[in-house]
């Protein structure tokens, strides 16, 4: 989705989405490229702030690299904020946004989102194992891991959206969840490659299984939900196409792409998109905890399930991150320590495979509609496949390919230094995740949606999601991933 697209007219929406995709690629590559330089011994990003689990907040923040220790936690936080402000403001200029409004709003967004992250790292929230509780001298904790900060950020955003709507409106210029998550996904390519390099067989097996996600989302989910919307709820074709795409494929991007393809009025996919975001929030708050409770012994099933069940890239990939933390925490409490990265890599693989085909599916629907249903002079063209292709995926693939080559095709010295460089880039991936969660929360004005009378749309979503999508996703994830666990940490 483009969060901008939800707010503006359709022609602008398409243009903004394309620009936003490319912007995500550029920023993601800048972060990755800067991190990779550290392999040569020059550390360009070591000042980035990291947060440790703490009981004394003064000890919580630190620069990533010891060489930048002189900055202190506060200095690292300010440096990180300033760098993001400059880079993102430059990006907003290219998108044609109001850079002054963005800078002010982003300052508030960053402050609240990162404060949420810090709250989530408090030992009473984050400590997982008895050993950790002992280390911090506490008798109990919520055991959410420090990634519980994502949930805190999401809840902060929801509170602002629903109780402080004027403030939410003021923040709007910097509420860009899709831009943030796309940048994060490009950066994630490095971490996924480092993870995959250790187990190439397992990684290639995951890729093969990504194909099942495409079949499920486009051919099974879509057909059933379109039928439900048309036949059971009596929606018109114009409403049913974006609705089916939003629920079954990848949320907002699919709703807008297929809505445009069948020449729906701009307001239709945009309203469906609002609904998609609200449901994604509900899912992120529920599904990772269900996965931890019922699927912790099948971590890859859980990762794939989250990718298939949660719509919108932001919520799904971020939900995969929470699920990984929760399952690893539960497994650690049982004495099993998995290598990190595999559950999130499974969610991301599934999601990216689904995303790749949006353009093709939109073209197929556009062809059918403009040639057989609403015949007119404006026929669907093959060039729309490329127009609607989510370009940030190219950034992910490039970062993944370069990182994998550095890990397995270069010198042992470079391969040895790569995980640290990828870890440095990962600091920014986490920050963009936090910004995504907060932004999704701010877009989730439940009351407004209800007041606007979209209960019938929500009913289709509810019936399809909880009556079909979640369970079929679970079945297919189980069929393809059960019995296979991530490697154990050495």
């Amino acid at each position: 989705m483009s969060d901008i697209a939800v707010k503006v007219s359709q022609p602008l929406a398409l243009r903004a989405r394309l620009n936003e995709d490319w912007l995500a690629v550029v920023i993601g590559l800048v972060v990755f490229g800067s991190a990779i330089v550290s392999i040569s011994g020059t550390d360009l990003l070591g000042w980035a702030v990291t947060t440790s689990v703490y009981t004394d907040v003064a000890q919580a923040l630190n620069p990533f690299a010891k060489a930048y220790g002189w900055l202190g936690g506060g200095g690292a936080l300010l440096a990180t904020y300033a760098a993001l402000l400059v880079v993102l403001s430059a990006g907003v200029v290219t998108l044609g946004g109001d850079v002054r409004r963005f800078a002010l709003a982003f300052s508030a967004v960053f402050a609240i989102a990162y404060a949420s992250w810090i709250v989530g790292s408090y030992a009473y929230v984050a400590a997982v194992t008895p050993a950790e509780q002992q280390k911090f001298g506490i008798a109990w904790s919520l055991k959410l891991t420090n990634e519980g900060g994502f949930i805190v950020a999401l809840l902060s955003g929801i509170v602002i959206a629903n109780f402080f709507p004027r403030f939410a409106e003021w923040l709007k210029e910097a509420i860009r969840p899709e831009l943030y998550i796309k940048i994060a996904i490009v950066i994630l390519g490095a971490t996924v490659a480092v993870t995959a390099a250790g187990r190439l067989n397992l990684a290639s097996s995951l890729l093969l299984r990504g194909a099942a996600a495409i079949v499920e989302a486009y051919l099974i989910y879509w057909a059933v939900i379109y039928y439900v919307a048309r036949k059971w709820f009596g929606f018109s074709r114009e409403w049913s196409v974006p609705l089916a795409s939003g629920i079954s494929i990848c949320g907002v991007a699919a709703a807008i792409a297929t809505g445009g393809a069948i020449r729906a009025r701009p307001a239709v996919p945009i309203l469906v998109s609002s609904l998609v975001v609200v449901f994604a929030v509900v899912e992120v708050l529920i599904l990772p905890f269900l996965a931890q409770t019922f699927l912790w012994q099948e971590p890859l099933v859980a990762g794939a399930w989250i990718g298939l069940a949660i719509k919108t890239d932001g919520a799904a990939v971020a939900g995969g991150g929470i699920t990984e933390s929760l399952i690893m925490a539960k497994a650690a409490a049982e004495g099993i320590k998995y290598q990190p990265g595999w559950i999130l890599a499974t969610t991301t693989t599934v999601k990216i495979f689904i995303d790749i085909f949006i353009g093709i599916w939109a073209f197929i629907l556009g062809y059918i509609w403009t040639n057989h249903i609403d015949k007119g002079p404006d026929k669907a063209k093959p060039s729309e496949i490329w127009q609607r292709f989510p370009k940030f995926i190219l950034g992910f693939i490039l970062v993944f390919a370069v990182s994998l080559w550095l890990a397995v095709g270069s010198t042992p010295e470079i391969a040895k230094a790569l995980p640290a460089a990828a870890g440095e880039a990962n600091v920014f991936r986490v920050i963009f995740f936090v910004l995504t969660f907060f932004s999704i929360g701010v877009l989730s004005d439940f009351r407004k949606l209800w007041q606007q009378g979209f209960g019938k749309l929500a009913a289709v979503y509810f019936v399809s999601l909880f009556g079909f999508v979640i369970w079929v996703g679970l079945l297919i994830s189980w069929l393809f991933f059960s019995g296979f666990k991530p490697p154990l940490a050495s």
């Binding site: 074709r237 307001a267 009378g453």
Partner: protein, 51 residues
């Protein structure tokens, strides 16, 4: 178009019957999807995940 218009439209639109081309789209999607799923399940069986 205002949002109240859309609300009325959602709640009061006349039902459009499914056209044959829509039925074909649904049927072909489901049929192809299930067939491909069975193929992938077979592939999954013969090429299991390697650790």
């Amino acid at each position: 178009m205002s949002r109240p218009d859309l609300r009325d439209e959602i709640n009061n639109t006349e039902v459009e019957p499914l056209l044959p081309v829509e039925k074909k789209l649904i049927g072909w999607s489901l049929g192809l999807g299930l067939a491909l799923l069975f193929v992938l399940i077979a592939v999954n069986h013969f090429v299991p995940i390697k650790l």
